[in-house]
């Protein structure tokens, strides 16, 4: 067992679904690393496998193959996907998840108190009830819920408040990593800002590490330190946020960035048109999965799948022409302070 710089290393993760002799690769060979206290954003369009990836990492669904190396608090690294039951019981609470749909993620038949304390009951069966209630009240306060509301049922709350309940449930067992699966997509704009601010505050206060899955590029840009772009189950680019948004290296990233509607009527939009539509994941194209839609496609792209490689330090890309292409991204008005 090696001491690691990273709190989480995802190595060659695969997830395949087979039904009626058709195999669909939902997640193909994904590798990336996360440092403690960082936020890694995962973006991509619907069906690109980002949600599946998140669920595989937390062991919500079993991965087909690959490793998720987790360095626990004691400095020992475990493969989270292949630990025995006893160890899993111990480590499970370290990696938690926040869900997209604030309605289906809370059991309507339980009071908020029961929802929030459920992870406590599962992980600390010997804890006294009064202590649990105290913990729940504390955590409710922390996520901005009035503790006197704990006796209520979820139907008493709006989407934003429900999402806070979901966050409280994830936080109550002191996790170190939280996978946020589109946590604000279902919320109204003004509420989105509240929840994003809350997540940032909690991260600073508790030293949390986030994997932030979203299709909304502006939200991801705001919250993430690093961003990974997924296309058809594969990671096509992974880099520090500003580098990726200002100087994309993969043509898909460029197209994605150019499509974002910026909430400023004075900014002109130069959309790079994408040909066609996302191919069927059950029958992906040959070579580079993106070649049919790429305007920089050359002969090699149609035949050989590009390798996902580290082109500069902390910059990964899967494109044959990454070095030669000069792709456009966003211009940042001011250089970020050091």
């Amino acid at each position: 067992m090696i001491l690691s710089d990273y709190i989480l290393e995802i190595k060659n993760l695969y997830k395949e679904y087979t039904s009626k002799n058709i195999t669909v690769k939902a997640v193909t060979d994904i590798s990336f690393n996360i440092k403690k206290g960082e936020t890694v954003g995962i973006v991509g369009e619907s069906g690109c496998g980002k949600t599946t990836l998140g669920r595989c990492i937390v062991r919500g669904i079993p991965a087909t193959s690959g490793q998720v190396l987790y360095t626990a608090e004691d400095g020992v690294t475990y493969d989270f996907l292949n630990i025995d039951k006893k160890k899993l019981k111990e480590l499970r609470k370290d990696i938690q998840m926040i869900f997209q749909d604030p309605y289906s993620s809370l059991d309507p038949r339980m009071t908020v108190l029961n929802i929030i304390t459920e992870p406590l009951k599962a992980n600390f069966p010997k804890m006294k009830k009064s202590e649990m209630e105290l913990r729940a009240a504390e955590i409710a306060e922390k996520v901005g819920l009035n503790p006197s509301y704990l006796k209520r049922y979820p139907h008493a709350f709006s989407g934003g408040q429900r999402q806070r309940i979901g966050i409280a449930r994830a936080l109550i067992i002191n996790p170190r990593i939280i996978v946020c699966d589109e946590p604000v997509s279902a919320l109204d704009v003004s509420i989105q800002a509240q929840v994003i601010n809350l997540l940032k505050d909690l991260q600073r206060e508790l030293g949390l590490t986030y994997i932030f899955i979203s299709h909304d590029l502006s939200v991801v840009e705001h919250i993430s330190d690093k961003v990974g772009v997924m296309y058809l189950g594969k990671m096509v680019e992974f880099a520090e946020t500003e580098a990726l948004f200002s100087k994309p290296l993969h043509p898909y990233t460029e197209a994605l960035l150019s499509s974002v509607p910026v909430a400023d009527p004075t900014v002109k939009m130069n959309r790079i048109p994408l040909k066609g539509e996302i191919p069927n994941p059950a029958n992906p194209p040959s070579g580079c999965y993106f070649h049919e839609r790429c305007s920089y496609c050359v002969d090699k792209c149609t035949k050989v799948a590009p390798e996902y490689r580290e082109i500069e330090k902390d910059r990964f890309v899967a494109c044959h022409r990454a070095e030669e292409l000069k792709l456009k991204g966003f211009t940042y008005d001011e250089p970020k302070a050091i």
Binding site: M97, D107, K121, N123
Partner: protein, 372 residues
């Protein structure tokens, strides 16, 4: 001041709503369904009558009187020759119609039998425990009171209908409980384990529900030995009735199991480390319980009709024990109905009960998902 009060009341109402559990919400929604509430009262009344059947019925199952074969309902009078003497009946006199030579029952105005409350009659055990001979009402010695006429053996139809309801109304309930247990266990196994077990169970369910119900019931009830005691017959019929209806429930349970496995809150519980068994007990079972109760309620009318039709065909409960189906046997022929229309009264009891259960099921279905 008034405004403040109104606002306070609204606040309180809101708070109550927020603190209301699923069942409270369901109850509230159900109460708004007028027809279902009315049906609940009707059924409550019917079951009350069935519970105190031996006390309410003036006669017992075996009592018969050959002098009143096929007698029409007796009229209850208050005044005799313009003089008030309280509720009473006249004696019954049989005569032959001079033309058709048919039996006719006319009132013998010379005989007066007063109706008495809480009189002594045949002995019975209330709730099967308390031995007594007190009946709610009866007439003085020598007279008969037939609120709904008599049958071809001279037995009081009113008493028989009330005593018959004890069978007709409880068989479906007992059947419901059996189907409930079978449905949850078998459907749960199919939904939880999935794969081959699921396929096998699903096929069995499909085959069972493809069988035509009535012939199957007939075949099954024909296998009940003819000489066993009434209680055992009752038991067999319950089992036969629930034999088909569990399949529908099992299907619902299986479907709910499968769809709920995909709910985010189940995933959340799993990620938090909650054990599978706890997830089933705490999240899944409460999740489909309301749906199960709805379909169970809607299944009861089928069972009532099942028992009634079996007895009607002579395959269920047999005389002198009775149920509504047995009573309707007498109404099999059109001539019998034409001449003694009161023999159809048990039919209305069946219709009212079935409708009431259906309305309640409707109300429950509307209330089952209070979050929508």
């Amino acid at each position: 001041m008034v405004l403040q009060n109104v606002m306070d009341r609204n606040k309180r109402k809101e708070e109550e709503y927020y603190l209301a559990s699923q069942w409270t919400l369901m109850r509230r929604k159900f109460k708004k369904h007028k027809l279902a509430m009315a049906s609940l009262w009707v059924l409550g009344f019917l079951y009350f009558v069935a519970l105190f059947g031996n006390f309410i019925a003036p006669y017992n199952l075996v009592a018969y009187n050959s002098k009143i074969v096929n007698a029409p309902p007796t009229k209850i009078h208050m005044f005799h020759e313009g003089k008030y003497i309280g509720p009473f009946v006249y004696g019954i006199k049989m005569e032959r119609d001079p033309v058709s030579k048919r039996k006719m029952y006319i009132e013998n105005k010379d005989e007066i039998y007063k109706i008495k409350w809480f009189t002594h009659g045949s002995e019975y055990k209330l709730f099967g425990l308390i031995k007594t001979d007190i009946h709610l009402f009866g007439v003085e010695q020598g007279g008969v009171v037939l609120l709904m006429g008599a049958d071809s053996m001279g037995r009081d139809l009113f008493s028989r209908m009330i005593l018959g309801s004890q069978v007709s109304l409880t068989v479906p309930f007992a059947g419901a409980i059996i189907s409930f247990v079978l449905g949850i266990i078998i459907g749960g196994i199919a939904g939880y384990f999935g794969g081959a077990i699921d396929s096998v169970i699903s096929r069995i369910i499909e085959v069972l529900s493809a069988l035509p119900t009535i012939p199957l019931w007939m075949a099954l009830s024909a296998s009940i030995p003819p000489d066993i005691p009434v209680v055992r017959v009752y038991l067999y019929i319950t089992i036969i009735v629930s034999f088909i209806s569990w399949t529908g429930l099992a299907r619902i349970v299986r479907g709910k199991f499968i769809s709920m496995r995909k709910e985010d809150y189940i995933m959340a519980a799993r990620i938090a480390g909650v054990s599978t068994w706890k997830i089933i007990i705490k999240h899944m079972v409460p999740g489909f319980m309301s749906y199960l109760i709805v379909s169970l309620t809607l299944g009861i009318p089928g069972m009532i009709i099942g028992e009634t039709s079996m007895s009607f065909l002579g395959l269920g409960i047999r005389s002198p024990a009775t149920s509504w189906g047995v009573l309707l046997q007498e109404a099999q022929e059109i001539t019998s109905i034409a001449m003694h229309p009161w023999k159809l009264i048990p039919l209305f009891a069946v219709i009212i009960t079935v409708l009431a259960f259906n309305f309640i099921g409707d109300g429950l279905r509307d209330a089952a998902d209070p979050y929508k």
